[in-house]
Amino acid sequence: MGLLSFATSLSFPRGVHPPGMKADTKDKAIRRLAFAPRVILPLQQHFGTPSLPQVQVHQEVVRGELIAVADGVQSVPLHASVTGVVEGIELMPTARGPKTEAIIIRTTPGDTQAVQWSLPRGDLMQASRKEIIQAIQDAGLVGLGGAAFPTHIKLSPPYEYPVDTLLINGCECEPYLSTDHRIMLEHTQDLITGVRLAIRAAGAERAIIGVEDDKPDAIAALRAKLAKDDIISVGKVRAKYPQGSEKMLIKALLGREVPSGGFPYHVGVVVNNVGTMAQLGHLLPLGEGMIERVITVAGPGVQRPGNYLVPLGTPLRFLLQQVGFTGKDASHLILGGPMMGNTVASLDVPITKGVSGLVVLSDPETQAEDVRIHPCIRCGYCVDVCPVGLNPSDLGKLAAKRQYALMQERFHLNDCFECGCCAYVCPSHIPLVQYFRIAKVLNRERQS
């Protein structure tokens, strides 16, 4: 660490350094969580079209079984995360707010809960690009970093944009979260297998795994498994928020900038999370579907913080009971990290494919009480940290005057990806990014 690593780590310009808060979890091995008596599997755990249920109420299903199929290319299938009986297909609360349709399975008590369903394929290393893409979709894989974008779509960009480099995101710049860190340490081989398959699927020439320099053990573990001239390499990037954002990682590792309004494939890049790649490397050779994921449970409200392998659909209520949650020191239940995650309104919300952590914070951490919003004092802190190079100060003033159209036309509002750096540093405590979200929604409504 120290000066030397500072000099050799790559980075994007600007950004912030929130306290890491990872000490409670980063050194603890991943543990398997018990099976909840009832799991709730929403049909839309991904970005795109909801899956179509293939099971009836009262039907028995086994762990790993296909229970909903993909509805077209923009969708992924869903697999049962427990052996049990379908209790119903009902509207259930989700993290995003509105209730959505979900398959509810009552777990059969005393069952071994071994995976009993698979769709084996031949040697995938010899398979064609198309076959691998199909296998990825069949596994129900989505981006595990938070966006839950279907992985098969990401890995097959339009023909006119050939992909030369695959970036694998192991930055994990959000405070508290350490799932990616543990996966890099404990599932190194699965991760590398997954990356090799993804390189073939995307038709790329090479892959770079970007890891922040506060995880030297993960960098060492990965490098130990890679040859010197391997097409997969490890890129050390500076521990800084939001290093793990796609566009910032591309800038840091390759020096390329995704054009405003464009996608990474416009500059020949596809970015995937290390968790996604580890699942891919594990599931594809077995022909199984995605039924569980690793999440970090942390924060002062949690007695046994750590990284847990959680069956998809596990309700928060059950998860919190398992990790020793008393309800003390808790006012915010955040799915994802505290910089970009969402607070949940109900303990019946289940863990879904895109949830990377549950962070339980109390008022002192969030300073939710007693903050007085001052007028902008033009300190320029927000301009100094905005990773996109926007002027949040001006944008905030326009938002206060409801000049939403102007914000978009002249001030690049739509390039804001809501990382929250501006609101994090604002000494006047102006909820800048929150204003920008409102502005974007109103602009969309006006334009439709």
Binding site: S260, F325, A345, Y424
Partner: protein, 339 residues
């Protein structure tokens, strides 16, 4: 778990623990050593001046809050800073009633009229100072000797002038500042005396060393943008250096220019005023260099010995335009934002 109260909020859920109050309070802390030195240097007259302007500024702020029916903004400490800065820029023998009027004008016309903290185009303390320069030209150019033996027991004769009367003369106490000495008598002051502040001048401007040290405290706490003083001093140094190279007999050394008068105080504590300076990184340099340049031009070619105040006010006026032409380039766009 039954009595669980959960709050719904949108991200980010963390905020950095620096608030406006903390920034302003720390600026006050940073000014206190400068004030203490001023009192030790010029005696109870300086102390009375500091108390008067601060009371006038804070009082005006509160009265305007009451008149406009807004919650009190006194607790944000920005009016205290204005008061202290105003006193620090006035001559030690400045009559208190004139100082009070200047403080009221600074807050009322320089700040409240624009909408209060965050909206003022100009540094309010300098608006008060500019008013004093225009309204009380005699008093504001009467300088007294530092370190007078009776300074702790006796007010300067003009300090306690009855309101709306002309102050008594302060014969026997007067002295020239290094800048007036250079400008009107052609006398140079050694740089070391300027650095440590053993010279005549405005209450708080005399010790460049102390002001720099206090500024460093704010920079270390990340509560001041060090680019601004750096740019102002560079601008003044370069401009003065060019003049000196052209004619060393007609112009003082650039060191003299940087260390004399109110430049250090202005660069460190007034040009760096967050509200009235640009927010962009390159804009800040442009703004600072402009202030440094203007200061030297006014000092060398203007009728006044000192030019920092007008230079900063002009810099403040230019900062919206500077900000406009120095917007950062957004990620993924090939060029800067069109104007």
């Amino acid at each position: 778990m039954s009595a669980l109260h959960i709050k719904l909020k949108t991200s980010p859920h963390l905020i950095q623990a620096v608030s406006v109050e903390q920034i302003m309070r720390n600026v006050v802390y940073a000014l206190l050593p400068v004030c203490a030195f001023a009192v030790w240097h010029f005696g109870i007259s300086a102390l009375a001046l500091l108390v008067t302007t601060t009371a006038a500024c804070v009082g005006t702020e509160r009265v305007i809050n009451l008149l406009s029916g807004k919650p009190s903004t006194v607790t944000d400490f920005s009016a205290v800073i204005t008061g202290l800065l105003l006193a620090l820029t006035l001559p030690p023998a400045f009559p208190l009633w004139m100082a009070a009027v200047s403080g009221i004008i600074g807050i009322a016309l320089g700040k409240a009229m624009f909408g209060g903290l965050g909206y003022n185009l100009f540094n309010p303390a300098l608006i008060g100072r500019a008013f004093a320069q225009g309204a009380f030209p005699g008093a504001i150019s009467t300088w007294t000797l530092p370190g007078h033996p009776d300074r702790f027991v006796e007010f300067l004769p003009s300090t306690l002038a009855i309101p709306f009367t002309r102050p008594e003369s302060v014969d026997g106490w007067t002295s020239a500042t290094p800048l007036t000495a250079w400008k009107f008598q052609g006398v140079d002051t050694p740089s070391m005396e300027l650095f440590t502040g053993m010279v005549a001048g405005s209450v708080g401007e005399t010790s460049a060393l102390l002001i720099l040290g206090c500024g460093l405290y704010l920079v270390a706490r990340r509560m001041m943008n060090w680019h601004i003083p750096a740019a102002v001093l560079s601008g003044a140094f370069i401009t003065a250096g060019v003049c000196y190279l052209i004619d060393p007999n007609a112009y003082p050394t650039p060191w003299f220019v940087v260390l004399s008068g109110g430049l250090m105080l202005g660069a460190v504590f007034m040009a760096s005023d967050m509200v009235a300076s640009p927010v962009t990184r390159s804009g800040v340099w442009l703004y600072g260099l402009l202030i440094g340049f203007l200061t030297v031009i006014i000092r060398f070619f203007g009728g006044l010995p000192e030019g920092v105040m007008y230079a900063i006010l002009l810099g403040n006026a230019a900062s919206p335009l500077i900000e406009r032409i120095t917007q950062p380039r957004p990620y993924g766009t090939g060029r800067r934002r069109p104007l």
